[in-house]
């Protein structure tokens, strides 16, 4: 509509919600992805890595990722496509297992962090008063402490008994801070929306308002938070592992880098040892970054109003 009065901008908006049949829905999603190439490319990169982590198990025996399962220090060949390391691991098997393990750490702590953060954010934002005062204070204090310091102290004490799961839990213990703060600010905005007042008048209780009125509108935002938290957790885990504070007995990507550094792989010319985990990490973070950018566009109401 050409006119500039308040209602006209919405009058001409395309019917976003009319997702009738499944095929129409599929078409809408395809059309959207074409308009949002970063989301598409990001999802593609993550898909390739998922295919390696899952499909790779069919191609290679993953017990080859254990030490002494192959001859030490072989350059890539037909038998060992990515070579082997000094401890006799088949690096292709390490790639398959390690990608999964690193993603596992990221997913566990990402999900736990966003879940805790969402609960804290909603409690602080929705109920306000001293709930908000206490939660915001705790979040602010923890945000001010450098996370690596805490992680190193905990990890160093657990070094021998460390597994990927404990690693994930340690990282999750700090992953809730940013989601909590971000969700709180979103809830503060939404709480003042007229439709929340309508819901109150509808006789909907607090839980109903949180889960059925506010949460659905936050889904794209929560997804973006989840991706962000997952990639931050993976970055922390790789960092800790490269310092040698990761699980000693599991071939995660970070631990592989640590062992490669430990045995001076590059100085001795074992380039393939270092290259494999590095390449996977680069693809992984690039994919996650692009997905975050894509989801950001999806979640940003200003861009979204252009019509999904």
């Amino acid at each position: 509509m050409p006119d500039h009065s308040p209602s006209s901008s919405t009058l001409g908006a395309p019917p976003a919600g009319t997702w009738g049949s499944a095929s129409r829905q599929r078409r809408t999603i395809t059309l959207y992805l074409r308009r949002n190439p970063s989301l598409l490319i990001g999802l593609f990169l993550l898909g390739v890595l998922a295919a390696i982590a899952i499909g790779g198990r069919l191609v290679v025996d993953i017990s080859m990722a254990d030490p002494l399962s192959a001859p030490a220090v072989r350059a890539p060949s037909w038998d060992y496509p990515l070579g082997t390391d000094k401890q006799g691991r088949n690096l292709f098997a390490v790639l398959v297992v390690g990608t999964w393990l690193t993603c596992k750490v990221g997913l566990i702590s990402g999900v736990l962090g966003v879940l805790t953060g969402t609960i804290l954010g909603f409690v602080a934002g929705y109920f306000g008063r001293w709930w908000d005062a206490v939660i915001s204070l705790v979040v602010d204090v923890f945000l001010a402490v450098p996370p690596l310091l805490i992680l190193i102290v905990i990890s160093a004490n657990l070094e021998t008994t460390m597994t990927t799961t404990t690693m994930a839990l340690i990282i999750a213990s700090l992953a809730w801070r940013e989601p909590a703060r971000r969700i709180r600010s979103q809830v503060l905005i939404m709480r003042e929306m007229a439709y929340v007042n309508t819901a109150r008048l509808n006789g909907t209780g607090s839980l109903g308002i949180i889960f059925r009125e506010m949460m659905p509108n936050l889904i794209p935002y929560l997804m973006a938070s989840l991706v962000l938290a997952t990639s931050a957790a993976m970055l922390s885990s790789v960092g800790l592992e490269a310092l040698g504070l990761g699980p000693q007995n599991e071939p995660t990507l970070g631990m592989t880098i640590y062992w490669a550094m430990h045995y001076s792989a590059l100085l001795q010319g074992y380039w393939w040892w270092m290259m494999t985990p590095l390449l996977v990490l680069i693809l992984l973070f690039l994919g996650l970054y692009l997905v975050t950018v894509g989801l950001d566009e999806l979640a940003n109401p200003r861009l979204k109003r252009g019509g999904v």
């Binding site: 509509m1 050409p2 006119d3 500039h4 009065s5 308040p6 209602s7 006209s8 919405t10 009058l11 001409g12 908006a13 019917p15 976003a16 919600g17 009319t18 929306m193 007229a194 439709y195 007042n197 309508t198 819901a199 109150r200 008048l201 509808n202 006789g203 909907t204 009125e213 659905p216 509108n217």
Partner: protein, 591 residues
């Protein structure tokens, strides 16, 4: 400046918008002429093409729109045939634009002086610093602002002052045509009158032709010489404003004129002015009824604390007491400008805000205040219609959600069929087609449809009390009377009492039994509309009444020159004076 000549002559203007569904003609074959000094009004609803016509003259039509025909001669130049560079030179210099919502068009990080000079510099006018200062000062004085405004930032000015700054910018190069696009849509009536008077003064001084775009027929009647009524891009009627108001030729014009509340629908028999002195009330009368009142406020007020320890703060509403019996339905209007505390009062009534002092009782139960507990069916009996009909619907759900939820939660309907039947009835009572409304998302409905559905929802739930918070302020003029009629019907046929919150005295006059005028959180004057609005006593109410643009071109629009809000002092009234006028049965107010 004294421009001679014929002014602006527009012939057969056509503007097209290219959309996925083909070409939409937004402006269809429109011709008019504006000699110097003439004030022309463009009136119509959203989508009528009134703004698009103005943008075409400014060369501001953007893709996918395009000017597809016609010419607009200003002197010897055709404004529609200019190259982009020439358009830039003509903007401000010969055609200038005063946008809607001036508060948003000023740059928040730049001082007023610099923003006023910007346009002149862009047009290559070279001035020394001293010349700039004197030019700015002169322009500001023309719009009635002090020279000190030049050094301020936009946030330091009120809405009316910002709009006057925009007028000053618009006349800075002595344009031949001024286009004012709903220049007062975000302002209250008192400021509106001030801004419009300023606009008229500078326009007459500059001698420019003026186009006023709007949908308020009252404002048109008070301001323009000639009127063009547009609808869906087509010219409906054109002519002298007096002629049009006296005998509109087209049905649509008549509907637009009739949509302005004038109070003609009321019976004016009750002119018995009773009380004069402040507060003729006896306190005990408040509690002396045997049955608990539907709604009772006992010294309820609201203070928004500020600072670390919550001391001081902003007083939004001074304590007041009221009692609405509810045996007979009543429409109580609460009138005030923004910041008067009317929305705070609505929040207290609805239980969205808790009072800083005092209590709110509903059917004898304490619902807000210390130790309050709300019965489960509280919102079964108390409902609301909000100002923004778009924000009131959750964008995640279809509109059914807002209608079906209360039916289920309050046990008013069981099963799909019964809920659907109820929803259909809700649509029908407000004249909506259920098939075109139910199972849709709010953004698929027009603003008027959304708001009507909200009223329909209230009818469907049949509460005992409805709080209507500015229900028609964001709706097209022609729909206002429909929505107000639905509200009235709610009272007459369903026995629902209504608290009608508004900034618009005219609509309050139309529908209410009792009017409460608020200013800066205090009750200023209260009584029946015949008394309060027909013969206001408090200077503030007088100012408010005088500022209403009545749809009558022969009526003079008062000459209010108040720039601040201390009305009382001059007339011997204190700002804190409350004048309680006559009373009605079933409702009592005490401050």
């Amino acid at each position: 400046m004294g421009h001679t000549g014929v002014g602006l002559v527009v012939d057969n203007l056509e503007v097209d918008y290219v959309t996925d569904d083909g070409i939409v003609r937004a402006v269809d074959n429109i011709s008019f002429r504006i000699p110097p000094g003439l004030r022309m009004g463009f009136v119509g609803e959203s989508g009528s093409g009134k703004t698009t016509t103005a943008l075409a003259l400014m060369g501001l039509i953007q893709a996918p729109g395009r000017v597809s025909g016609g010419r607009a001669l200003l002197g010897n130049t055709d404004l529609l045939a200019l190259s982009p560079q020439e358009q830039v030179r003509h903007r401000l210099a010969s055609v200038s634009y005063i946008p809607q919502g001036a508060m948003n068009s000023l740059n928040p990080v730049s001082r007023i002086r610099d923003q006023m000079i910007d346009g002149l510099l862009d047009h290559g006018i070279r001035m020394t610093n001293r010349e700039r200062d004197s030019r700015v000062e002169e322009l500001l004085s023309q719009v009635g602002l002090q020279a000190s405004v030049a050094r301020k930032f936009p946030h330091e000015l009120s809405g009316g002052m910002k709009q006057r700054v925009c007028i000053a910018i618009a006349i800075s190069m002595g344009p031949k045509i001024l286009i004012a696009d709903e220049p007062t849509s975000a302002l209250d009536v008192i400021t509106q009158r001030l801004v419009m008077q300023t606009l008229r003064n500078v326009q007459e001084k500059v001698g420019a032709g003026l186009i006023l775009i709007g949908h308020d027929m009252g404002l048109m009647a008070q301001f323009v010489d000639e009127l063009m009524v547009l609808r869906k891009g087509k010219l409906v009627e054109q002519g002298d404003v007096r002629q049009i108001f006296k005998s509109p030729k087209h049905e649509y014009t008549r509907a637009l004129i009739d949509s302005v509340p004038t109070g003609a629908g009321r019976s004016h028999g009750v002119a018995a002015t009773v009380a004069t002195a402040p507060s003729p009330f006896e306190p005990p009368s408040m509690a002396s009824s045997s049955r608990p009142a539907l709604l009772e406020l006992r010294g309820a007020g609201k203070n928004f604390p500020s600072g670390l320890f919550g001391r001081g703060g902003t007083r939004a509403l001074f304590p007041l007491s009221m009692r609405l019996d509810g045996d007979e339905p009543r429409v109580i209007s609460v009138v005030g400008q923004s910041g008067s505390g009317k929305s705070t009062l609505a929040g207290l009534l609805l239980g969205f805000l808790s009072p800083s002092e005092g209590e709110v009782m509903f059917e004898g139960k304490l619902v807000s205040g210390k130790g309050a507990s709300r019965p489960a069916d509280y919102y079964r009996k108390l409902q609301a219609v909000f100002q923004d009909p778009y924000a009131a619907y959750n964008p995640f759900y279809k509109v059914d959600h807002a209608l079906a939820e209360p039916l289920v939660n309050f046990g008013l309907a069981r099963g799909r069929a019964e809920i659907l039947a109820n929803m259909q009835r809700a649509c029908e009572v407000v004249g909506l087609d259920p098939d075109q409304t139910i199972h849709r998302f709010a953004h698929q409905l027009s603003g008027g449809q959304r708001q009507r559905l909200m009223v329909g929802r209230a009818v469907m739930l049949k509460p005992k009390l409805l709080v209507a918070d500015e229900p028609v302020s964001m709706v097209d003029a022609s729909l206002r009377s429909t929505i107000l009629a639905s509200l009235r019907d709610l009272k007459d046929s369903h026995g629902v009492s209504i608290v009608y919150i508004t900034h618009d005295l005219a609509t309050a006059y139309e529908i209410s039994d009792y009017v409460i005028v608020l200013n800066k959180g205090r009750v200023v004057e209260a009584g029946t509309p015949e008394v309060v609005i027909r013969s206001p006593m408090h200077p503030y109410t007088r100012e408010l009444v005088a500022s209403i643009p009545w749809p009558d071109p022969d009526r003079t629009w008062g000459e209010g020159e108040h720039t601040d809000t201390s009305y009382g002092i001059a007339a011997g009234f204190d700002d804190n004076t409350t004048i309680l006028r006559d009373t009605i049965s079933g409702f009592q107010l005490r401050v």
